[in-house]
Amino acid sequence: MSEMSGTLSGSDLARIRQGCYRVLASGFGRPSAELTAQIRAGILALEGLGMGVFSFAQPMRRWDMALSAASPGDVATEYVRLFGSGMDGAVCVPIESQHLGVNLVGDAARHAGRIEDLMRRSGFEADLDERPPDHLAVELELASAFCGAEATAWADGGSAEKWLEWLRELVDVLAMWIPGFAATVGERDRVGVLAALGGATAAFVMHEYDIVRVLIGAAAEESG
């Protein structure tokens, strides 16, 4: 991106967003020294791509600083406490149906089904290991894949509209629960890394909520 000219191509924009989704998805993986190094390298690469001009850059940097200050062991303990076992009543798992569901049994299936249906329609398949399809990391990875396909479409001069529409479908639901989830994690995290991760995710998702609409409008105008 050219900062002086103040412009960036649709493809570059999609690549930055793809990278953000990917890095944030990694943040919801089990913490380790290796993963921390990968995430920090990812954030550095995003800075190189021009992430700095976006409003979510500052929360991403705060996450990076928190990662650099904390020991991976402490983060791993906190990860289990908040996202796993729920010791001290602090559980706040990053799973959509746990936050949006009313009837947990039925809702877990409904939310997982929604993501699986989205994957099937868009031609993606997840290697889910132990994570449910409505786990935030899976959703962010799927969004990252959409952005990758969108970037290719822009670069080839084709229409990115269908990828953006699928992304909107995903982000609309994320925007309903991520801010509340991030606030809860922010209150309960004792180390600061997961709180910063929550803040960065919320900032990025809220930004996506708007920017995807802006892009859909622009894409429709171009093709129309």
Partner: protein, 465 residues
């Protein structure tokens, strides 16, 4: 705070500012890394605000927390006026409390490049109001939704939803919210208060405040007059117009909107001015010399009355009423109200007290009775109780500033006898509500008997067992 100023046409040493003069800085703003408290003074013709915003963000600054003053906003011939303006802006910035992602609306204009691929201007962000869930009254109050002229706010599933892209940041929801939950980080009542207070502490002589639209064109100011910008003059309630007079200004003027983004802004501002004048007149303060149409020289001395609080806050009308003393003045733009309930129509459903965002209306069950009481000093005349009441004509709000009523405080508006459950002795519902149900059910005596004689729990138990 350290200031970086562009122009070489001003001798900054004559001002009382910590200024680093860097002529030509506007054309290529370099943001210092060695300070977290910085402000900029730039040329209107050279300063590219979007570019500066990107630079600030890249360097880790929050652009909303960094003051930018244009040279055109400063009276270069008067170091004292310049210092006062800068002091006011610094004071305003000190009241800035940060923003959340929900407050930033991305603006990315799309263009077609030579190869016909889409290219976007890199983003700038327009700060927009967003409800703060921690103090939003919720429970059905939709004062912000009702006030939005752009349809950007909606009430869905028990929560306010905000379409940021549709929001024009006109600020009407900010001044309409009775609980101060609508927050635009770039413009808060606390910042407005701080700015006027900053002027008052920096200016020794009597001074006037012209309230103007931040998006509209600026015109020349007379000596002794200072400009204070709000998102749109259409958002001004009457007590915001009186507010500066209670913080130290000796006169107030409201400029025309000028930006044309809000077609009815001038009409609304005009109505607010008329009411504010009536209020001052009712308080035996000659309004014509205090709220003026045209800026004038030779300002009168200060009012001699101070606000014991922030007149721009959610309860600002009460602050102003307390400062101005005994008045009785009514009109559609009155910022406070008096509620009355029609005894023969009200069924005691408690909807009014549920939706009341300031708890001016409160339902209190006491020993077999339900009382609905009312505190005039909390009522902002938002009319949510009237709009949400299911019984037409049961509740009325008289838009009026009545300081005697306010002084009386909370009082009971209506008492309903509560029907007792024949089985457990608990509460079924107010007798008036049961009478209303009886009218609706007509001849169905069996259903009527069950509904009116048993409480909800007992009815449920009987159905199960």
């Amino acid at each position: 705070m350290k200031w970086i100023a562009c122009s070489d046409r001003i001798d900054w040493t004559e001002t009382d500012l910590d200024v680093s003069a860097r002529p030509g800085w506007c054309r290529d703003p370099v943001v210092p890394r060695d300070t977290d408290q910085v402000g900029f003074i730039g040329c209107a013709e050279d300063l590219d605000r979007a570019h500066l915003e990107r630079r600030l963000r890249s360097e880790g600054f929050d652009p909303l927390g960094v003051p930018v003053v244009l040279l055109t906003e400063l009276d270069r011939d008067s170091p004292s006026r310049m210092a006062a303006k800068v002091a006011a802006i610094r004071s305003r910035m000190a009241a800035y409390t940060g923003s959340r992602p929900e407050h930033l609306k991305p603006v990315m204009p799309a263009t077609l490049s030579r190869r016909s691929f889409l290219t976007f201007g890199s983003p700038t962000y327009q700060p927009v109001p967003h409800p703060d869930d921690s103090c939003c009254a919720g429970d059905g109050c939709r004062a912000c939704v009702d006030s939005c002229p752009h349809g950007a706010l909606d009430w869905s599933r028990g929560a306010i939803r905000h379409d940021r892209l549709g929001c024009a940041a006109c600020g009407r929801c900010v001044s309409a919210c009775p609980s101060g939950a609508m927050v635009n980080p770039a413009f808060t009542p606390a910042q407005l208060y701080a700015e006027v207070e900053g002027l008052a502490s920096a200016v020794a002589e009597p001074f006037g405040v012209r309230i103007t639209c931040e998006r509209g064109p600026r015109s020349e100011l007379m000596k002794d007059w200072y400009e204070v910008a709000v998102p749109c003059v259409g958002m001004l309630p009457p007590h915001w117009i009186i507010g500066p007079l209670l913080i130290g200004a000796t006169a107030v003027a409201v400029s025309k909107c000028g930006c044309d983004a809000e077609p009815d802004a001038d009409q609304r501002a005009g109505e607010a001015v008329v009411f504010a004048r009536s209020w001052l007149d009712a308080a035996d303060i000659p309004a014509d010399s205090r709220i003026v149409d045209e800026l004038r020289e030779g300002l009168v001395s200060a009012l001699g009355v101070a606000a014991a609080g922030n007149p721009f806050a959610a309860n600002g009308a009460v602050v102003v009423a307390a400062a101005l003393g005994d008045v009785l003045v009514g009109g559609v733009r009155a910022p406070t109200g008096v509620v009355t309930i029609q005894e023969d129509v009200c069924t005691g459903c408690e909807m009014c007290s549920t939706v009341c965002p300031t708890s001016a209306l409160r339902a209190v069950p006491i020993e077999g009775r339900l009382e609905i009481d009312f505190d005039p000093s909390r009522c902002t005349a938002c009319r949510q109780c009237v709009v949400r009441c299911p019984e037409e004509g049961a509740i009325h709000v008289l838009p009026i500033v009545d300081s005697v009523e306010m002084a009386v405080g909370r009082r009971t508006l209506i008492r309903h006898e509560l029907a007792e459950c024949l089985r457990c002795g608990g509460t079924v519902a107010p007798q008036a509500a049961l009478a209303r149900i009886a009218r609706a059910l007509g001849d169905d005596e069996k259903a009527l008997k069950q509904i009116t004689s048993l409480c909800l729990d007992c009815r449920g138990t009987m159905m199960v067992f």
